[in-house]
Amino acid sequence: MTAFRTFFAATTALCAGTAAFAADLEVTHWWTSGGEAAAVAEFAREFEAQTDHTWVDGAIAGGGGTARPVMVSRIIGGDPMGAFQFNHGRQAEELIEAGLLRDMTDVAEAEGWKDIVNPPSLLDACTVDGRIYCAPVNIHSWQWLWLSNAAFEKAGLDVPSNWDEFVAAGPALREAGITPMALGGQPWQSSGAFNVLMATLGGPDVLQKIYGDGDAEMAAGDAMKRVFKAAADMREMVQGSNVQDWNQATNLVITDQAGGQIMGDWAQGEFAVAGEVAGEDYTCLPGLGVNEVISTGGDAFYFPVVDDEEISAAQDALAATLLNPETQVAFNLKKGSLPVRADVDLEAANDCMKKGLEILASGAIMPDVNMLNTEDTNNQLNDLFVQFFQDTSISADDAQARFVDIVANKD
């Protein structure tokens, strides 16, 4: 940061108060839910407070599926935005290879990202051939079960402490007029939840072997059979949750209409916006209370190549701002995710975030599915599981057979 502060001090002095280096930087992202919007506002605030540049918000609603084509078209069309959000991993590989994204290694070195980013795998996911192309901004983990305390109370049950207890509570919840489990209709939520079952009930190694190495034998094996059995249980529990968006599903838990939901830690942002208190109003079980492990995926910002020097300077400044300690704290508290640097103070974090930080510190981490699978494979998994969870006529065995097929053909 210091290097940049000096740099900016120098340029501002040189330009003697003219706004020559104040560029408008258009930032495209798909963070439009309540918690997400509040979090991204922190970025904009910090960016504008610490630099002379202006954050032009280019939010696109409808999730990555709507936003990504727009982003990619803009970059390919030769009219790129200043910066854009992607889930890092394999999604941006080809854009980097085609030379469309800026090499941010200089900023990374000046800021010492190598030393501060924790776990280092986050930076590895941004690195291609030794050069760094993106700025990781948070750690998101998928392996959380969110439970509504009031819903269980209403059904006269104790709040479960693990997946099996939760499944066992299903019929009683339903009798009390509560949907046992909420699941949004969008495909990514179905495959996401399944991957969580796989990482926790099967274990991180199973997931790593299947998605990382494409081990079809493992995919057909007994460990996965159990996971598919659990998925069939889950299918019973989600019947009747007629919502589309993930945050509408979370809202069912918040309003005690549903017992629980498997969703990433971003769900926490929604609980926070609704004024719910962890431990009191809701309970979170990392690793479904079975296998306390979290994946270290997350969001990252990429910076397209532009031929305007002012924009480039603004890109550098944004990259630096995103990772500075104050921004990290402010942003992640709102987003419900974990900061990418271990050296920041998260006193204000709630119980659930603290659990996450502990697990992160203990080293029980695994790579995110996005880092192992291409979007193509993910899309096929989406198709399979969204169908499986919505259509009770598909048996667990049939689904597993199709799953093996996808794994065998993945690249």
């Binding site: 839910s33 919007a37 032009v56 390919i76």
Partner: protein, 313 residues
């Protein structure tokens, strides 16, 4: 005809209202309260109610508060009328950090729609005229390709057009989007104009040719003045089509040019907490207002033009 006076008055009335539309051609009705009339009017009224139902539900929903929506019957009129959803949809609804609702998109939509409509109609009418009256060699082949283009799913063309626009250096500009709209409006409009010009008496054209009039002269002085109805149809089709477009607006522009539909999608899909159905419905109505108004104002001309253009071909 038990009551010929009323009946003929009605016929005259409807004729006068529909302008040049020739009167109904069906078998003549006999009595006002015959079983047949009850059947006809009954069916039409039921069908009309069915068609109006969604509009009605949109309007009442947009005027209710959220608590009332949660409790209630979607068909019930609002107990307490509130315009808050409309205000919110127009100027307060948030997408990401932009909390200025649909208002931003409205002028963008105007800026996109006006030039796109003018350009696409200009091109298509000349095409139609050239195809109908100047049948040069190969014209039918191009026309067939064009019609084929009417069927191509837009998604297929998305990518090649990104590349095309990039090579022309107009990607992301208003000009680029106007061009895209003109291209994709061309097939149906050309068909429409071609059919219309074919239906005009050929003697007019021949006489003008004998008098030595050229391509543009005939187009401007003879064809144009005779084609008002078809121009109105084309205009309505294009205004509604372009105003309602979402895909091109989102893919070929950038945020400061996003049309209203993109903003609508953003508002509807930016669920912050609970889905605010009333705001969504108000936003939907606001977005649909322009095409609806144009349609209601010029509805008669539209039917007339359809009769003249699409059908006689």
């Amino acid at each position: 005809m038990s009551d010929p006076a009323t009946m003929s008055a009605a016929v005259v009335g409807s004729d006068a209202a529909s302008g040049a539309l020739s009167g109904p051609r069906g078998p003549k009705p006999r009595r006002r309260f015959s079983r047949r009339n009850v059947f006809i009017y009954g069916t039409l009224i039921v069908v009309a109610l069915y068609y109006l139902l969604p509009l009605y539900v949109m309007i009442v929903t947009s005027l209710k508060g959220m608590p009332e929506i949660r409790l209630g019957n979607i068909f019930a009129p609002p107990v307490e009328v509130t315009f808050q959803p409309w205000v919110k949809a127009w100027s307060e609804a948030c997408t990401g950090l932009n909390c200025d609702g649909l208002s931003r998109g409205f002028w963008n939509s105007v800026r996109i729609t006006v030039p796109s409509v003018l350009l696409s109609i200009a091109i298509a009418s000349v095409n139609g005229y050239a195809l109908a009256n100047w049948r040069f060699k190969g014209a039918d082949a191009f026309f067939t390709i064009l019609i084929f283009g009417a069927f191509i799913p837009y998604q297929v063309m998305l990518y090649p057009i990104v590349i095309l626009l990039r090579e022309m250096g107009i990607y992301g500009t208003l000009g680029g989007l106007v061009m895209v709209h003109s291209i994709f409006g061309m097939p149906i409009l050309t068909l429409l104009f071609r059919n219309y010009f074919t239906s005009l008496p050929e003697e007019l054209f021949k006489a003008a040719r004998v008098d030595g009039a050229g391509f543009w002269q005939i187009y401007l002085q003879i064809m144009l003045p005779m084609s008002l109805p078809i121009f109105v149809v084309a205009m309505i089709l294009q205004v509604t089509g372009i105003w309602n477009d979402f895909l091109f607006g989102v893919v070929y522009t950038k945020p400061d040019l996003y049309p209203m539909t993109v903003q609508l999608n953003n508002i509807v899909n930016s669920v912050q907490g609970v889905k605010e159905y009333n705001v969504n419905m108000a936003a939907t109505l606001l977005t649909g207002l322009v095409p609806l108004v144009i349609y209601f104002v010029s509805g008669k001309l539209f039917v007339r033009g359809i009769a003249a253009g699409a059908v006689k071909g």
